[in-house]
Symmetry: C2
Subunit: 201 residues, 2 copies
């Protein structure tokens, strides 16, 4: 838009909204108008919720999750099994696994994957803290739930090495056909893995 059609405060709101993942320049406009329309019900509460979260958010010193308390809500949940730790790359992966609701374990967030070309070595990731947690002896199983990418798998191998000296079972996620997936659309690697790991009916 070449001509200004609204005051600088509204233009700035639109520019910032456009940086939120899921919103582009056009939907940021729509979102801004909706927020303006629902000023009391949405814009004001959202502004204050965002300000409050920004003020209170911190990284859990135990597992690397983000929360408003440290240790985080997951680490201090007494209903979780403290002998199993799921290692993930990012907090988003932790949330995704929680949505699946299949395990009742603790987590450890690496904060990324090993990527020497980008200057990300073991010291840039939350790996020392994982080894420290395992060395304390209460953890019986570490499930490595990193992405099935080259970087993810490299990181998984490195972690397995690092945890080799401890009395702990190290496992990883199964490869296979996604639930609801059609064989015709799957890559050869996935199909081969699904065949190799076939299970009895």
């Amino acid at each position: 838009m070449s001509k200004r059609i609204a005051g600088p405060e509204i233009e700035r709101l639109i520019q910032l909204l456009a940086k939120v993942p899921g919103l582009g320049p056009r939907s940021a406009r729509r979102a801004a108008l909706h927020l303006i329309k629902k000023k009391e019900q949405l814009m004001e509460p959202l502004a204050s919720a965002m300000g409050e979260a920004a003020e209170k958010v911190r990284v859990c010193s135990t597992c690397g999750n983000v929360d408003t308390v440290d240790p985080c809500t997951v680490c201090t949940d007494p209903r979780r099994d403290p002998t199993t730790v799921i290692v993930v790359e990012e907090v988003a992966d932790l949330w995704a696994l929680e949505r699946a609701g299949a395990m009742n374990a603790l987590y450890h967030v690496l904060g990324g994957t090993l990527s020497p070309l980008d200057g990300i070595g073991p010291d840039q990731l939350n790996i020392k803290q994982l080894v420290q947690r395992v060395s304390e002896g209460a953890i019986k199983e570490v499930i490595i739930a990193v992405n099935a990418t080259v970087e993810g798998q490299t990181t998984a191998h490195y972690l397995t090495d690092q945890l080799g000296g401890f009395e702990v079972k190290v496992t990883r996620l199964a490869h296979g056909v996604p639930v609801g997936g059609e064989l015709d659309y799957l890559d050869e690697g996935t199909l081969a893995a699904a065949l190799r790991s076939r299970t009895a009916f």
Copy 2:
């Protein structure tokens, strides 16, 4: 998610983000994580931009647009032609027409369409102010740019009646084939209108 995996401040942020158009429950989670990651660069500025906009936003007493000043940026723009007014249903339509950049006119935002069943009569819309603006004599053309819906067209007819007593040209948007549109996918009404309003090559 049955179990809490983050503090109440983060859960509340996600719930409010999910109400922003363009974001659903899942993308609200992703947006919240991104905001937390970019706390200084995005979350804090966005929180304050939203708060500031919420505080300053007002409805233009001349045209019904929303802005942080009254009269709004559009009404006070000296480069616009004050003899032409485009009547739209909502502020979003004003923004859409400005994106097209085809006219350099003023606007008038009705705030909706006539809808007797929903209790929306002429008094619920910004119609008196339009008649008042036209009665002042400076406006030579009123372009009625409402949606091509039954409610929109009913409102257009009502406006034409109301403006009948003044020395003003009342026009409306052309019906026809959308640019880039394929005839095969268009409804009969649009095709008939496009044929009726055919123009010479």
